[in-house]
Amino acid sequence: MGEEIKTALANLDENLVLDLVRRKIQAGEDPEAILADLKTGIEIIGQKFEAQELYLIDLIYSGDIFRGAFELIKPVLRKDRDSTGLGKFVLGTVKGDVHDIGKNIVADLLTGAGFEVIDLGVDIAPEIFVARVRETGSRFVGLSGLLTVAYDAMKETIRALEKADLREKVKVMIGGSMVNDEVKAYVGADAGCRDAVQGVKIVKQWAKG
């Protein structure tokens, strides 16, 4: 049946996905296994996107289907499970910037890859990033920003992490359509990415390495 869930998700058949998940939960199947199938589905979607078989609108929709299915599984997941999988990931669009279409896609793909994503939203001040990193103990931070003025906000955020003695403990990935090596160096991030699928590949390596 694993086959079915991931194919249903890769085919963007929302009703079928939700239906299968519900039935499996009722049949007492291991929720971790169901989640794993869903994640495989998201991975397939990422590959199809890279191969230009799926487009942005599909990526956005698949994220929503995934989230709906995850909500169904959550209540039956073991409370003491090692729920984090690859670990926690604090993500947000930096202060002054409200672009979030790309960031939301990243959040979905990260969740699909096995991270527990703490999505702070948009227009997020450095202090809030710091507070949430401290609170969650997350080892990864993702900063999204599409405006060029966002680079200063990214830089400030990273500086705030330094001041809070957290910089050594986290890896910071920045993303957005204008990010390049210069920007990465300017803001002092560990990596920068203009493409969600690529970015997620990199952080997966971080988590595993």
Partner: protein, 390 residues
Amino acid sequence: MNQGGNEIKQKFEERKRRVEAAIRLETPDRVPFTTMVYSFAARFAGISVHDYIFNPRENRRVHRIFNQEFEPDMNYLPATNLHPLMVALAQPCPVRLPGRELPPDESWQCFEEPLMTVEDYEYIIRKGMPLFMRRFLPKIRPQFIRPGISGLPGRLKILGLSISAITTAIASIRDAGKMGFPTFLGGGFESPFCMISLARSLKEFSRDIHQRPETVSRAIQRSVPSLVRVAKFMSRISGVPRVLIGFHREAFLSPRQFRELALPEIREITSLLSRAGVVTVLHCDSDWTPHLEALQELPEKSCVLEFDGATDIFKAKKTIGKRLCIKGDVPARILALGTKDQVLDYCRKLIEEVGEGGGFILASGCEIPPDAKPENVAAMREAVEKYGKY
């Protein structure tokens, strides 16, 4: 008329001819330059974004300063577009505005929530977009139209806002004209596809596209005639035979979805307007490269395609450059972070490849970013003079 007056008039005619020749796919004397600009101009003139948006006199002054300094071939857009009501037509979702919900000099912010429901599609299909918008406006602009205001007072309020939008527009077109600058656009708003997507929120809209594409398509089709009416009206009162329509989320579709959901809309709008003598300025945000072939189906010379730096504009020239005028696309990244030489180099490449044989207008990709370096903006103007003579 005095000497100076004649000179201004001549300049006005010369600039107008240049741009209009490019739109007709002819080769003007040189590559024309006119570009979308809002907050950058305010910053350059030293006033806050808030005053720029809410004070029409300051707005005119800002553009006077911009036009004088950077000398585009046309003034871009009359101030209507910044009018609260117009911003609503362009962004039908809740906003936070500078000097109101935000500090006076910040960029406005826009927040999508699924305020439009699935049932509203049926409402649009039955009653049309204008009636839907009238009901919807208080939800997204409580700052200007009190929620709960309905019936005659509501209608009067909207009428009042419309009249002030029109007078603001006419005043700014006249103002630019007095300095010898024709205006590029008579008005502008968003495509039905984008309006519905913003009102519905992108997430819900992505679901609708997969689950009820027929309904989405019908609501879009139903909205086209009223939009075309408004566009024609804007063009008539402004005396400018060009109107901007913002298309961006169409780019997120797969080529197949694009042909089913977006192309009919774009084809219909451009042909209806073209028949009425109005050129559609298709503002194509995001990456349109996968859809260039589909755009070949638009009526010849019916529009100007404005690319924002994300589309492969060189490929666009090869695919559709013989049928439609192309405008663009110095990326915001270079204007804000690059050097003057980088801007000149990029413009030269644009002029040589996309400008080849005419049918090209040089511009920034989308608007000039608020934090662009003034010397980089000036470099675009320099480039058309230096490399753009035919």
